[in-house]
Amino acid sequence: MSAAAARLSTVADALNLRARRSRRRLSSPWASLTAILIAALWTLPTFGLLATSFRPQGDIQSSGWWAVFTEPRFTLDNYREVLQAQNSGSSLFDAFLNSVAITVPSVLAPLSLAALAAYVFAWIEFRGRDLLFVIVFALQIVPVQVTLVPLLQLYVKLDLAGTFWPIWISHAIFSLPLGVFLLHNFMKDIPRDLLEAARVDGATHVQVFLRVVLPLLAPALAAYAIFQFLWVWNDLLVALTFANTSETNPITVALANLAGNYGTSWYLLSAAAFVSMLVPLVVFLALQRYFVRGLLAGSVKG
C-alpha cells in the first residue's frame, strides 16, 4: 500500500512539475493584462460602494469615491443613521433581525425534510418510487412566480398573513425538489453494504438514518444549507409577496424600498447595502469549499 502511495505521489510530483513548466510557457503579458482587467471590473464597483459607505455625506455628494485616495476622510455616521433610520416604520436593524428570523427556519426545515425524503428514494424500494422521484425532481421547473398569487390567497384564508409562517413554508417547500435531488445524489454514493449491515444487526430505518446516514451526509448537508441560506437571505420576490409588512420584511425588501424612496441618498444606500451583504459574504467566504463542491455536484454530476 505504501509503495502504491509513493508511486502515486511521484506521479503527482511529475504532473505538478509539468504543470509549472507549462504555466510559464502559457502565460503571456496580454493574458495577465486581460485577467487583471477582468478582476478589476469585478471588484471595483463593490469597492467603490464600500468606500462610499464610509465617507461623510457631503463628500459623497461632491466627489466620486476615488477621491478617498487623495483626501481620505472616513466616518461611521452613515451606518449609525441607517441602522436607526425610521424608514416605513422600522429600522434597517429590525429588517436585519427579520432576515435572521426568516432564514434560520427556512434553511433548517427543508434540510431535514429533504434528507428524510432522499433517504426513502435512495434506500427503500416500493412500487412507483422512481416515478415519484422523477416528479419531485421535475418540480424544479416550476418558476416561483407561477405559485405566488394562489398561495397568497391560501395564506390569507388560513389567517397566516402578517406572520413569518407564509415565508417559512414557501421557502422550505420551494427548495425541496433541488434539495431532495442533491441529497439523493450524495446518498446513493454511500456503500449499500454499510446500511445493510446495520439493518441486519437489527437497526430500524430511523436508527440507520440518524446514526449512519446523517453523519456521512454532513458535507452534502453543508453544501445544501449554504445554497439555501444564500437563496433565502438574498431573495426579494418571495419576501415582497409574503413578508411585506414592517414587522416581517427582511433586509432585501428594506433595501429595495430604500432604493425606491431615497434613490439618490447614496450615504444611506451604500451603508444599507453593506449591512445586507455582510452576513452572506462572511458565510460564503468561510464555507466556499462546500459551496463549490455542491455546485459541481448539482450541475456536473446528476
Binding site: S22, A31, T34, A35, T52, L113, P143, S170, V180, N234
Partner: protein, 322 residues
Amino acid sequence: MVTTEKLTQMVEGLAVFAVLVGLVLAIAGRAPRAGRSDDRRVAIAFLAPAVLGLLIVVIYPAVRTIYESTFDADGSDFVGLGNYATIFTTPDQIIVLRNTALWVILSPLAATSLGLLYAVLVDRARFESFAKALIFMPMAISFVGASIIWKFVYEYRPDFAGVNQIGVLNQVLVWLGGTPQQWLIESPWNSLFLIAVMVWVQAGFAMTILSAAIKGIPAELGEAARVDGATARQVFRRVTLPLVRPAVIVVLTTVAIWTLKVFDIVRTMTGGQFDTSVVANEFYTQTFRSFNQGVGSALAVLLFVLVLPVILYNARQIRRLA
C-alpha cells in the same frame, strides 16, 4: 424588546417544526412486528411532509394560476386566451418580450464566455484561488445589492461646470473627453446596462464549473499539441474548447434559466420604467401593482413555458455529462 419578540417567534417556528420531524421519526421508528418489514411505514412517514408540501405549495397553486390566466383582471369573467393575446399584441408587452429575448440571449453568452476566458487565463497561475475568489464573490451578494452597486457605477450628474461626476462610468467617460450619459434612460441600450449586472453576478458560476472542466482535461493532451508546435490559442480552440463543450452548454442553459426568472435587477434599478421591463418583472407589476391578475397569471405561465424547454435540454446535457 422587539428583538426578543422576533427571536421568540423564530424559536416557536423552529419548535413547531421540530415537533413535526419528531412525529415523523416516532411514527417511522416504532419497531416492526416480528417477521414483517417496516419499509412501507417508514417510506410513507418520511415522504409525507415533502410530498404533501409540494402538492399544496407548488402543484395546486401552479394549476390554479394556469386556470386564472384565462380570466380577466379581477378574475370574474372567462376570457379564454385573451390575456395571452394581450401579451403578444400590446406594444408595451411586445417591448417586454423583446427585452426578455435580449436578456436570455446576451447574459448567458456573456457570462459564459467571460467565465471561460477567465478560467483559462488564471488556470494554474500563481494566485489562482485568490483570483477566482474575486470573480466568485458577487454570487454571495443579493441581486438587490448588486443592482445598487451598479446603479452607483451608472450614477449621472448633470453636466455643468463645477459638478463632479460621482458614478465611475461617467467619470471615465469625462476623463476620456466625452459627455456624461444617463445610462438607464435610453432604450434599448439601457437593457444592456441592466444585463451587465446579471453577467457580473453569474460569471463566477460559469468560471467555477468551466474551471473544473478544464482541470479534468489530462495535461498531456495540451502538452502534446504544444510539442507539435501549436500556439496557446490553437491549443485552446482545438483541444480545450471541444473537451469542455458539454460543460459550456450546461452553463449556458443554467444561466439562461436563472436569467428568465430574475426580476430583482429590473425592479431595483428602473422598476421596469424606460422600456426595460422583462417577463418576470412584468408579472410582478401586473399582479401586484396594476392588480391585473389575468395578465399577471398569463405572464407567469408564459415564463413557465419559456423555461421548460431550456430546463429539459439542460437536464439532458447534465445526464450526458455524468
